[in-house]
Symmetry: C2
Subunit: 108 residues, 2 copies
DNA sequence: ATTAATCATCGCAATATTGCGATTAACCAA
DNA sequence: TTGGTTAATCGCAATATTGCGATGATTAAT
């Protein structure tokens, strides 16, 4: 019904899914790549860089903030965003472990 | 409008987003974890393992197949699935590189 | 106080996703 | 041929996501 049955999965599985959502849209990938490249807090630039409206960019930033992989600090009238290092590290460790956990199929 | 503007992003960004979608739902995470753990082709077991209906599981398997991260080989009346190693390796390299590309913020 | 700049939020529309029951298709065995 | 088994697909319903224009809120500057 368009509603994910989160309660029947483990906390870990739900967290992995949430972290993956940060990368599951090209606009969010572009945002994260830009923040990684600048290595610093970015203010209004993102709207100029992305081929999307200000409202849409703001929404993607909100979603990334919800996941925690970026953080915004208010410097009115600007809000500056940058990579939130602990969560980025969490993602690195999580996907690193998960993707390293497969070695080789014993069948086909 | 619920429709991602894929054409305004790079092929790489779209591919990253697609690979991330494989992990962006707890049911698909559970499926992949199970296939990794068994290291082999799994036939009907998945429906028994997951707390979802056969139709729903089949749909997630279809999505994972579309992305290419799993492959199914038909052994009627069964269809057996396993990790598709080249694409799994692609994901490992892609997210490995991407997540390693961030070092440290020079600001906050 | 007024204006300009910046960003969040609202409201809307359209498409996508998730989920399941029921059906269909394909195949094997008896 | 007739069942039985398995999995894909159909059809439907409900929620989620994506996108944008317009509006609002906030603050600095004039």
């Amino acid at each position: 019904m368009g509603v994910t049955k989160t309660e029947v999965f483990t906390t870990e599985q739900n967290r992995i899914a949430d972290l993956a959502k940060a990368f599951a849209h090209p606009a969010r990938v572009a945002i994260l790549q830009y923040l990684v490249a600048t290595k610093a807090c970015v203010c209004g630039d993102l709207v100029d860089v992305l081929p999307l409206s200000q409202a849409t960019v703001s929404q993607h930033l909100k979603e990334l903030s919800r996941i925690g992989i970026i953080k915004g600090n208010v410097q009115p009238p600007r809000v500056c965003y940058c990579i939130n290092e602990p969560v980025w590290e969490e993602a690195r460790a999580t996907f690193g472990d998960l993707l390293a956990s497969f070695t080789q199929n014993t069948c086909c």
